[in-house]
Symmetry: C2
Subunit: 254 residues, 2 copies
Protein backbone atom coordinates (compact mmCIF):
# COMPACT_ATOMS: atom_id res chain seq x y z
CA UNK A 1 0.00 0.00 0.00
CA UNK A 2 1.31 3.44 -0.78
CA UNK A 3 0.91 6.08 1.87
CA UNK A 4 -1.07 9.25 1.72
CA UNK A 5 -2.12 12.23 3.85
CA UNK A 6 -5.70 13.46 4.16
CA UNK A 7 -5.99 16.84 5.85
CA UNK A 8 -9.51 16.79 7.21
CA UNK A 9 -11.69 19.65 8.39
CA UNK A 10 -14.04 18.23 11.02
CA UNK A 11 -16.42 21.17 10.93
CA UNK A 12 -17.32 23.30 13.94
CA UNK A 13 -18.36 20.45 16.19
CA UNK A 14 -21.83 19.10 15.52
CA UNK A 15 -21.54 15.80 13.69
CA UNK A 16 -24.12 16.75 11.06
CA UNK A 17 -21.98 19.75 10.09
CA UNK A 18 -19.16 17.45 8.99
CA UNK A 19 -19.03 16.70 5.26
CA UNK A 20 -19.57 13.06 4.23
CA UNK A 21 -16.31 13.21 2.27
CA UNK A 22 -14.42 14.02 5.48
CA UNK A 23 -16.17 11.24 7.35
CA UNK A 24 -15.22 8.72 4.66
CA UNK A 25 -11.58 9.81 4.61
CA UNK A 26 -11.46 9.46 8.40
CA UNK A 27 -12.87 5.95 8.24
CA UNK A 28 -10.26 4.90 5.67
CA UNK A 29 -7.27 6.20 7.65
CA UNK A 30 -4.81 3.92 9.40
CA UNK A 31 -3.36 6.72 11.50
CA UNK A 32 -4.93 9.74 13.12
CA UNK A 33 -2.80 12.83 13.78
CA UNK A 34 -3.98 15.97 15.55
CA UNK A 35 -4.39 18.20 18.55
CA UNK A 36 -5.74 16.18 21.48
CA UNK A 37 -9.33 17.53 21.69
CA UNK A 38 -9.89 17.18 17.93
CA UNK A 39 -8.55 13.66 17.84
CA UNK A 40 -10.75 12.81 20.81
CA UNK A 41 -13.76 14.00 18.86
CA UNK A 42 -13.33 11.26 16.26
CA UNK A 43 -11.30 8.58 17.99
CA UNK A 44 -14.27 6.38 18.82
CA UNK A 45 -15.06 5.81 15.17
CA UNK A 46 -12.20 3.75 13.83
CA UNK A 47 -9.48 1.36 14.87
CA UNK A 48 -6.77 3.82 13.91
CA UNK A 49 -3.43 4.34 15.53
CA UNK A 50 -3.66 7.60 17.44
CA UNK A 51 -1.00 10.31 17.45
CA UNK A 52 -2.45 13.08 19.58
CA UNK A 53 -0.28 16.04 20.44
CA UNK A 54 -0.41 19.29 22.33
CA UNK A 55 -1.39 22.66 20.95
CA UNK A 56 1.30 24.77 19.23
CA UNK A 57 3.12 21.69 17.97
CA UNK A 58 1.69 21.94 14.49
CA UNK A 59 4.94 21.58 12.57
CA UNK A 60 6.11 18.52 14.52
CA UNK A 61 2.67 17.03 13.99
CA UNK A 62 2.77 17.78 10.26
CA UNK A 63 6.25 16.24 9.93
CA UNK A 64 5.08 13.13 11.75
CA UNK A 65 2.12 12.81 9.37
CA UNK A 66 4.33 13.09 6.28
CA UNK A 67 6.84 10.65 7.74
CA UNK A 68 4.16 8.08 8.51
CA UNK A 69 2.74 8.45 5.01
CA UNK A 70 6.21 8.01 3.53
CA UNK A 71 6.36 4.71 5.42
CA UNK A 72 3.09 3.62 3.82
CA UNK A 73 0.46 4.78 6.31
CA UNK A 74 -2.81 6.36 5.32
CA UNK A 75 -2.75 9.35 7.64
CA UNK A 76 -5.67 11.58 8.59
CA UNK A 77 -4.56 14.95 9.93
CA UNK A 78 -7.56 16.48 11.66
CA UNK A 79 -8.45 20.11 12.33
CA UNK A 80 -11.52 21.67 13.80
CA UNK A 81 -13.54 23.66 11.27
CA UNK A 82 -11.67 23.87 7.98
CA UNK A 83 -8.04 22.74 7.88
CA UNK A 84 -7.17 25.65 5.60
CA UNK A 85 -8.32 28.37 8.03
CA UNK A 86 -5.87 28.46 10.94
CA UNK A 87 -5.90 24.67 10.90
CA UNK A 88 -3.33 22.06 9.93
CA UNK A 89 -3.24 22.47 6.13
CA UNK A 90 -0.63 25.25 6.01
CA UNK A 91 1.52 23.40 8.56
CA UNK A 92 1.50 20.25 6.41
CA UNK A 93 2.67 22.20 3.35
CA UNK A 94 5.28 24.11 5.35
CA UNK A 95 6.63 20.79 6.60
CA UNK A 96 6.62 19.43 3.04
CA UNK A 97 8.31 22.55 1.66
CA UNK A 98 11.17 22.42 4.15
CA UNK A 99 11.32 18.65 4.70
CA UNK A 100 12.44 15.49 2.90
CA UNK A 101 12.39 15.91 -0.91
CA UNK A 102 10.48 12.63 -1.24
CA UNK A 103 7.57 14.06 0.72
CA UNK A 104 6.59 16.16 -2.31
CA UNK A 105 5.63 13.00 -4.18
CA UNK A 106 3.21 11.86 -1.49
CA UNK A 107 -0.44 11.91 -2.31
CA UNK A 108 -2.04 14.67 -0.23
CA UNK A 109 -5.69 15.75 -0.23
CA UNK A 110 -7.15 18.63 1.72
CA UNK A 111 -10.82 17.99 2.53
CA UNK A 112 -12.62 21.26 3.22
CA UNK A 113 -14.98 21.67 6.15
CA UNK A 114 -17.35 24.24 7.57
CA UNK A 115 -15.03 26.69 9.30
CA UNK A 116 -15.83 28.28 12.65
CA UNK A 117 -16.21 31.63 10.93
CA UNK A 118 -19.00 30.32 8.68
CA UNK A 119 -20.74 28.46 11.52
CA UNK A 120 -20.60 31.49 13.82
CA UNK A 121 -21.83 33.82 11.09
CA UNK A 122 -24.77 31.55 10.27
CA UNK A 123 -25.71 31.25 13.95
CA UNK A 124 -26.48 34.97 14.23
CA UNK A 125 -27.69 35.82 10.73
CA UNK A 126 -25.40 37.06 7.99
CA UNK A 127 -22.64 39.30 9.38
CA UNK A 128 -20.46 38.38 6.37
CA UNK A 129 -23.04 39.43 3.81
CA UNK A 130 -20.55 41.85 2.31
CA UNK A 131 -16.73 41.84 2.03
CA UNK A 132 -14.98 40.49 5.11
CA UNK A 133 -11.62 39.41 6.43
CA UNK A 134 -10.47 36.61 8.68
CA UNK A 135 -7.50 37.11 11.01
CA UNK A 136 -5.70 35.43 13.85
CA UNK A 137 -4.96 37.82 16.73
CA UNK A 138 -2.19 35.56 18.00
CA UNK A 139 1.26 37.10 17.89
CA UNK A 140 2.95 33.75 18.38
CA UNK A 141 3.71 33.51 14.66
CA UNK A 142 3.71 37.13 13.53
CA UNK A 143 4.76 40.42 15.08
CA UNK A 144 2.06 42.40 16.85
CA UNK A 145 2.86 45.36 14.59
CA UNK A 146 1.77 43.29 11.56
CA UNK A 147 -1.52 42.51 13.29
CA UNK A 148 -2.13 46.17 14.19
CA UNK A 149 -1.48 47.21 10.60
CA UNK A 150 -3.90 44.55 9.33
CA UNK A 151 -6.58 45.67 11.76
CA UNK A 152 -6.17 49.26 10.64
CA UNK A 153 -6.32 48.27 6.97
CA UNK A 154 -9.40 46.13 7.57
CA UNK A 155 -11.13 49.01 9.36
CA UNK A 156 -10.17 51.56 6.71
CA UNK A 157 -11.41 49.21 4.02
CA UNK A 158 -14.78 48.75 5.70
CA UNK A 159 -14.41 44.98 5.96
CA UNK A 160 -16.40 43.00 8.51
CA UNK A 161 -13.89 40.99 10.54
CA UNK A 162 -13.58 37.61 12.20
CA UNK A 163 -10.85 37.01 14.77
CA UNK A 164 -9.47 33.58 15.58
CA UNK A 165 -7.29 33.13 18.68
CA UNK A 166 -8.51 36.37 20.25
CA UNK A 167 -7.10 35.77 23.72
CA UNK A 168 -5.36 33.19 25.90
CA UNK A 169 -3.65 33.04 29.26
CA UNK A 170 -0.32 33.75 27.53
CA UNK A 171 -1.82 36.56 25.41
CA UNK A 172 -4.13 38.46 27.75
CA UNK A 173 -3.88 42.04 26.40
CA UNK A 174 -3.97 41.70 22.60
CA UNK A 175 -7.74 41.67 22.16
CA UNK A 176 -8.15 44.78 24.30
CA UNK A 177 -5.57 46.64 22.27
CA UNK A 178 -7.20 45.47 19.04
CA UNK A 179 -10.60 46.77 20.19
CA UNK A 180 -9.01 50.09 21.20
CA UNK A 181 -7.51 50.47 17.74
CA UNK A 182 -10.82 49.62 16.05
CA UNK A 183 -12.67 52.21 18.17
CA UNK A 184 -10.45 54.90 16.64
CA UNK A 185 -11.65 53.94 13.15
CA UNK A 186 -15.20 52.64 13.50
CA UNK A 187 -18.40 53.95 15.12
CA UNK A 188 -19.22 52.64 18.59
CA UNK A 189 -22.50 51.12 17.38
CA UNK A 190 -20.74 48.54 15.20
CA UNK A 191 -21.99 45.11 16.33
CA UNK A 192 -19.53 42.77 18.00
CA UNK A 193 -20.31 39.08 18.47
CA UNK A 194 -18.55 36.69 20.83
CA UNK A 195 -19.31 33.22 19.46
CA UNK A 196 -17.91 30.38 21.52
CA UNK A 197 -17.98 26.73 20.47
CA UNK A 198 -20.82 27.23 17.99
CA UNK A 199 -22.82 24.04 17.30
CA UNK A 200 -21.34 22.26 20.33
CA UNK A 201 -23.18 21.56 23.61
CA UNK A 202 -21.13 24.25 25.36
CA UNK A 203 -22.05 26.90 22.75
CA UNK A 204 -22.29 30.45 24.12
CA UNK A 205 -23.06 33.52 22.06
CA UNK A 206 -23.11 37.16 23.14
CA UNK A 207 -23.96 40.23 21.09
CA UNK A 208 -22.71 43.69 22.00
CA UNK A 209 -21.25 46.78 20.33
CA UNK A 210 -17.73 47.97 19.68
CA UNK A 211 -18.21 50.66 22.34
CA UNK A 212 -19.21 48.11 24.98
CA UNK A 213 -17.18 45.02 24.06
CA UNK A 214 -14.81 43.79 26.77
CA UNK A 215 -11.91 41.37 26.19
CA UNK A 216 -13.08 39.22 29.13
CA UNK A 217 -16.06 38.20 27.01
CA UNK A 218 -13.73 36.00 24.93
CA UNK A 219 -11.62 32.98 25.68
CA UNK A 220 -9.38 30.92 23.43
CA UNK A 221 -12.37 29.01 22.02
CA UNK A 222 -14.25 32.18 21.07
CA UNK A 223 -14.51 33.54 17.58
CA UNK A 224 -14.94 37.32 17.70
CA UNK A 225 -16.89 38.98 14.90
CA UNK A 226 -16.81 42.74 14.32
CA UNK A 227 -19.25 44.13 11.77
CA UNK A 228 -18.63 47.06 9.49
CA UNK A 229 -20.22 50.51 9.84
CA UNK A 230 -23.33 49.34 7.93
CA UNK A 231 -23.93 46.08 9.81
CA UNK A 232 -27.49 46.05 11.16
CA UNK A 233 -29.41 44.43 13.99
CA UNK A 234 -32.94 43.08 13.73
CA UNK A 235 -34.35 42.89 17.27
CA UNK A 236 -36.36 39.81 18.24
CA UNK A 237 -38.31 39.31 21.43
CA UNK A 238 -36.72 36.90 23.86
CA UNK A 239 -33.78 36.04 21.62
CA UNK A 240 -30.52 37.52 20.40
CA UNK A 241 -31.12 39.92 17.53
CA UNK A 242 -30.36 38.88 13.99
CA UNK A 243 -27.21 40.53 12.70
CA UNK A 244 -26.52 41.07 9.05
CA UNK A 245 -24.33 43.17 6.83
CA UNK A 246 -26.23 44.55 3.84
CA UNK A 247 -25.05 43.45 0.42
CA UNK A 248 -25.13 47.04 -0.82
CA UNK A 249 -22.83 49.91 0.06
CA UNK A 250 -23.98 53.49 -0.39
CA UNK A 251 -27.01 52.58 -2.50
CA UNK A 252 -30.73 52.67 -2.04
CA UNK A 253 -31.82 50.01 0.37
CA UNK A 254 -33.89 47.03 -0.74
CA UNK B 1 -48.13 23.72 10.77
CA UNK B 2 -46.24 26.92 11.42
CA UNK B 3 -43.97 28.12 8.67
CA UNK B 4 -40.23 28.53 8.72
CA UNK B 5 -37.30 29.44 6.50
CA UNK B 6 -34.13 27.37 6.22
CA UNK B 7 -31.32 29.15 4.40
CA UNK B 8 -29.22 26.29 3.11
CA UNK B 9 -25.65 26.28 1.86
CA UNK B 10 -25.39 23.46 -0.66
CA UNK B 11 -21.60 23.40 -0.65
CA UNK B 12 -19.43 23.88 -3.72
CA UNK B 13 -21.08 21.21 -5.84
CA UNK B 14 -20.00 17.67 -5.03
CA UNK B 15 -22.72 15.94 -3.08
CA UNK B 16 -20.32 14.61 -0.43
CA UNK B 17 -19.28 18.18 0.36
CA UNK B 18 -22.79 19.03 1.50
CA UNK B 19 -23.41 18.82 5.25
CA UNK B 20 -25.90 16.20 6.46
CA UNK B 21 -27.75 18.96 8.33
CA UNK B 22 -28.35 20.81 5.06
CA UNK B 23 -29.51 17.64 3.34
CA UNK B 24 -32.01 16.94 6.12
CA UNK B 25 -33.39 20.49 6.05
CA UNK B 26 -33.82 20.20 2.26
CA UNK B 27 -35.71 16.94 2.61
CA UNK B 28 -38.09 18.46 5.15
CA UNK B 29 -38.94 21.53 3.06
CA UNK B 30 -42.29 21.98 1.37
CA UNK B 31 -41.01 24.77 -0.88
CA UNK B 32 -37.70 25.34 -2.58
CA UNK B 33 -36.60 28.88 -3.44
CA UNK B 34 -33.42 29.80 -5.29
CA UNK B 35 -31.49 30.72 -8.37
CA UNK B 36 -32.30 28.29 -11.19
CA UNK B 37 -29.04 26.29 -11.39
CA UNK B 38 -28.88 25.80 -7.61
CA UNK B 39 -32.49 24.69 -7.39
CA UNK B 40 -31.87 22.31 -10.28
CA UNK B 41 -29.03 20.75 -8.33
CA UNK B 42 -31.39 19.52 -5.61
CA UNK B 43 -34.76 19.37 -7.30
CA UNK B 44 -34.67 15.64 -7.95
CA UNK B 45 -34.58 14.86 -4.25
CA UNK B 46 -37.96 15.86 -2.92
CA UNK B 47 -41.52 16.52 -3.91
CA UNK B 48 -41.25 20.21 -3.11
CA UNK B 49 -42.93 23.09 -4.81
CA UNK B 50 -40.26 24.83 -6.85
CA UNK B 51 -39.78 28.60 -7.03
CA UNK B 52 -36.74 29.07 -9.22
CA UNK B 53 -35.76 32.56 -10.27
CA UNK B 54 -33.15 34.34 -12.28
CA UNK B 55 -29.86 35.71 -11.02
CA UNK B 56 -29.82 39.21 -9.46
CA UNK B 57 -33.34 38.80 -8.11
CA UNK B 58 -32.21 37.97 -4.59
CA UNK B 59 -34.47 40.39 -2.73
CA UNK B 60 -37.62 39.36 -4.59
CA UNK B 61 -36.68 35.75 -3.94
CA UNK B 62 -36.08 36.44 -0.24
CA UNK B 63 -39.40 38.26 0.09
CA UNK B 64 -41.17 35.34 -1.58
CA UNK B 65 -39.55 32.91 0.87
CA UNK B 66 -40.65 34.95 3.90
CA UNK B 67 -44.14 35.38 2.49
CA UNK B 68 -44.53 31.63 1.88
CA UNK B 69 -43.28 30.90 5.40
CA UNK B 70 -45.73 33.43 6.83
CA UNK B 71 -48.45 31.44 5.07
CA UNK B 72 -47.28 28.27 6.78
CA UNK B 73 -44.81 26.79 4.31
CA UNK B 74 -41.51 25.25 5.29
CA UNK B 75 -39.24 27.03 2.85
CA UNK B 76 -35.71 26.06 1.87
CA UNK B 77 -33.77 28.96 0.36
CA UNK B 78 -30.75 27.46 -1.36
CA UNK B 79 -27.38 28.95 -2.17
CA UNK B 80 -24.28 27.42 -3.64
CA UNK B 81 -21.41 27.18 -1.16
CA UNK B 82 -22.34 28.92 2.09
CA UNK B 83 -25.45 31.07 2.17
CA UNK B 84 -23.65 33.66 4.30
CA UNK B 85 -20.86 34.33 1.78
CA UNK B 86 -22.35 36.18 -1.18
CA UNK B 87 -25.31 33.82 -0.97
CA UNK B 88 -28.93 34.28 0.04
CA UNK B 89 -28.59 34.76 3.82
CA UNK B 90 -28.01 38.54 3.77
CA UNK B 91 -30.83 38.99 1.26
CA UNK B 92 -33.26 37.13 3.54
CA UNK B 93 -32.39 39.37 6.49
CA UNK B 94 -32.53 42.52 4.36
CA UNK B 95 -36.00 41.49 3.22
CA UNK B 96 -37.00 40.79 6.83
CA UNK B 97 -35.55 44.10 8.05
CA UNK B 98 -37.47 46.18 5.50
CA UNK B 99 -40.53 43.94 5.11
CA UNK B 100 -43.67 42.97 7.01
CA UNK B 101 -43.23 43.35 10.81
CA UNK B 102 -44.63 39.83 11.29
CA UNK B 103 -41.73 38.32 9.34
CA UNK B 104 -39.42 39.00 12.30
CA UNK B 105 -41.29 36.38 14.33
CA UNK B 106 -40.76 33.65 11.74
CA UNK B 107 -38.43 30.84 12.64
CA UNK B 108 -35.34 31.18 10.47
CA UNK B 109 -32.24 28.98 10.51
CA UNK B 110 -29.11 29.51 8.46
CA UNK B 111 -27.39 26.20 7.75
CA UNK B 112 -23.71 26.77 6.96
CA UNK B 113 -21.99 25.05 4.08
CA UNK B 114 -18.54 24.69 2.59
CA UNK B 115 -18.09 27.96 0.72
CA UNK B 116 -16.40 28.15 -2.68
CA UNK B 117 -13.48 29.99 -1.09
CA UNK B 118 -12.76 27.09 1.26
CA UNK B 119 -13.21 24.46 -1.45
CA UNK B 120 -10.95 26.32 -3.87
CA UNK B 121 -8.30 26.91 -1.23
CA UNK B 122 -8.27 23.23 -0.25
CA UNK B 123 -8.01 22.14 -3.88
CA UNK B 124 -4.61 23.81 -4.30
CA UNK B 125 -3.11 23.52 -0.82
CA UNK B 126 -3.50 26.21 1.81
CA UNK B 127 -3.47 29.70 0.26
CA UNK B 128 -5.47 30.99 3.26
CA UNK B 129 -2.99 29.72 5.84
CA UNK B 130 -2.61 33.24 7.19
CA UNK B 131 -4.93 36.24 7.40
CA UNK B 132 -7.14 36.67 4.34
CA UNK B 133 -10.11 38.57 3.00
CA UNK B 134 -13.07 37.67 0.84
CA UNK B 135 -14.54 40.21 -1.57
CA UNK B 136 -17.03 40.49 -4.38
CA UNK B 137 -15.67 42.41 -7.37
CA UNK B 138 -19.17 43.14 -8.60
CA UNK B 139 -20.08 46.83 -8.63
CA UNK B 140 -23.77 46.08 -9.01
CA UNK B 141 -24.34 46.68 -5.30
CA UNK B 142 -21.48 48.96 -4.31
CA UNK B 143 -19.56 51.75 -6.03
CA UNK B 144 -16.38 50.75 -7.82
CA UNK B 145 -14.49 53.30 -5.70
CA UNK B 146 -15.38 51.29 -2.57
CA UNK B 147 -14.01 48.15 -4.20
CA UNK B 148 -10.77 49.88 -5.23
CA UNK B 149 -10.29 51.19 -1.69
CA UNK B 150 -10.86 47.70 -0.26
CA UNK B 151 -8.38 46.17 -2.69
CA UNK B 152 -5.78 48.75 -1.73
CA UNK B 153 -6.40 48.19 1.99
CA UNK B 154 -6.20 44.41 1.53
CA UNK B 155 -2.91 44.73 -0.34
CA UNK B 156 -1.42 47.18 2.19
CA UNK B 157 -2.47 44.86 4.99
CA UNK B 158 -0.79 41.86 3.41
CA UNK B 159 -3.99 39.83 3.29
CA UNK B 160 -4.37 36.95 0.87
CA UNK B 161 -7.54 37.59 -1.13
CA UNK B 162 -10.43 35.70 -2.66
CA UNK B 163 -12.64 37.36 -5.26
CA UNK B 164 -16.21 36.30 -5.96
CA UNK B 165 -17.98 37.61 -9.08
CA UNK B 166 -14.70 38.58 -10.75
CA UNK B 167 -16.11 39.17 -14.21
CA UNK B 168 -19.24 38.86 -16.34
CA UNK B 169 -20.48 40.00 -19.72
CA UNK B 170 -21.95 43.11 -18.09
CA UNK B 171 -18.77 43.75 -16.05
CA UNK B 172 -15.89 43.00 -18.41
CA UNK B 173 -13.20 45.47 -17.24
CA UNK B 174 -13.34 45.35 -13.42
CA UNK B 175 -11.03 42.37 -12.89
CA UNK B 176 -8.37 43.85 -15.15
CA UNK B 177 -8.45 47.12 -13.25
CA UNK B 178 -8.30 45.25 -9.94
CA UNK B 179 -5.20 43.33 -11.08
CA UNK B 180 -3.60 46.57 -12.25
CA UNK B 181 -4.15 48.15 -8.84
CA UNK B 182 -2.75 45.08 -7.05
CA UNK B 183 0.38 45.12 -9.24
CA UNK B 184 1.17 48.59 -7.88
CA UNK B 185 1.22 47.20 -4.31
CA UNK B 186 2.37 43.60 -4.53
CA UNK B 187 5.33 41.82 -6.15
CA UNK B 188 4.75 40.22 -9.54
CA UNK B 189 5.61 36.75 -8.21
CA UNK B 190 2.53 36.64 -5.96
CA UNK B 191 0.57 33.51 -6.93
CA UNK B 192 -2.82 33.93 -8.55
CA UNK B 193 -5.26 31.03 -8.86
CA UNK B 194 -8.28 30.84 -11.14
CA UNK B 195 -10.50 28.19 -9.61
CA UNK B 196 -13.65 27.45 -11.58
CA UNK B 197 -16.47 25.19 -10.36
CA UNK B 198 -14.27 23.35 -7.86
CA UNK B 199 -15.53 19.86 -7.01
CA UNK B 200 -17.90 19.78 -9.99
CA UNK B 201 -17.40 17.79 -13.20
CA UNK B 202 -16.57 20.99 -15.09
CA UNK B 203 -13.88 22.01 -12.58
CA UNK B 204 -10.95 23.92 -14.09
CA UNK B 205 -8.03 25.31 -12.14
CA UNK B 206 -5.14 27.45 -13.38
CA UNK B 207 -2.16 28.77 -11.45
CA UNK B 208 -0.22 31.83 -12.52
CA UNK B 209 1.34 34.95 -11.01
CA UNK B 210 0.13 38.48 -10.48
CA UNK B 211 2.49 39.64 -13.23
CA UNK B 212 1.04 37.18 -15.74
CA UNK B 213 -2.62 36.92 -14.73
CA UNK B 214 -5.11 37.91 -17.45
CA UNK B 215 -8.78 38.72 -16.83
CA UNK B 216 -9.80 36.36 -19.66
CA UNK B 217 -8.74 33.47 -17.42
CA UNK B 218 -11.86 34.05 -15.31
CA UNK B 219 -15.56 33.81 -15.97
CA UNK B 220 -18.52 34.40 -13.68
CA UNK B 221 -18.17 30.95 -12.14
CA UNK B 222 -14.50 31.46 -11.28
CA UNK B 223 -13.18 32.22 -7.84
CA UNK B 224 -9.94 34.20 -8.11
CA UNK B 225 -7.37 33.82 -5.35
CA UNK B 226 -4.45 36.21 -4.92
CA UNK B 227 -1.79 35.26 -2.38
CA UNK B 228 0.17 37.62 -0.23
CA UNK B 229 3.87 38.48 -0.70
CA UNK B 230 4.91 35.40 1.31
CA UNK B 231 2.67 32.84 -0.42
CA UNK B 232 4.80 29.97 -1.70
CA UNK B 233 4.66 27.34 -4.41
CA UNK B 234 5.77 23.74 -4.02
CA UNK B 235 6.40 22.36 -7.52
CA UNK B 236 5.21 18.85 -8.33
CA UNK B 237 5.94 16.89 -11.44
CA UNK B 238 3.02 16.54 -13.81
CA UNK B 239 0.58 18.42 -11.62
CA UNK B 240 -0.24 21.94 -10.51
CA UNK B 241 2.08 23.07 -7.73
CA UNK B 242 0.87 23.17 -4.18
CA UNK B 243 0.26 26.73 -3.02
CA UNK B 244 0.34 27.75 0.61
CA UNK B 245 0.68 30.87 2.69
CA UNK B 246 3.00 30.34 5.67
CA UNK B 247 1.48 30.73 9.09
CA UNK B 248 4.40 32.94 10.19
CA UNK B 249 5.20 36.47 9.13
CA UNK B 250 8.76 37.76 9.45
CA UNK B 251 9.94 34.91 11.64
CA UNK B 252 12.30 32.00 11.25
CA UNK B 253 10.82 29.42 8.96
CA UNK B 254 9.76 26.02 10.27
Amino acid sequence: MSGRVDVIGLGPGAEDLRCPRATLALAQATDLVGYVPYVERVVAEGGQRIHASDNREEIMRARLALQLAAEGARVAVVSSGDGGVFGMAAAVFEAMDHGEPGWRDLEVTVHPGVSAVLAAGARLGAPFGNDFCVMSLSDNLKPWSVILNRLECAARGGFAMAFYNPISRARPWQLGEALTLLRRHLPGHVPVIFARAVSRPEEAVAVTTLALARPEQADMRTLVIVGNAETRLIPRSGQDPWIYTPRSVGRERA
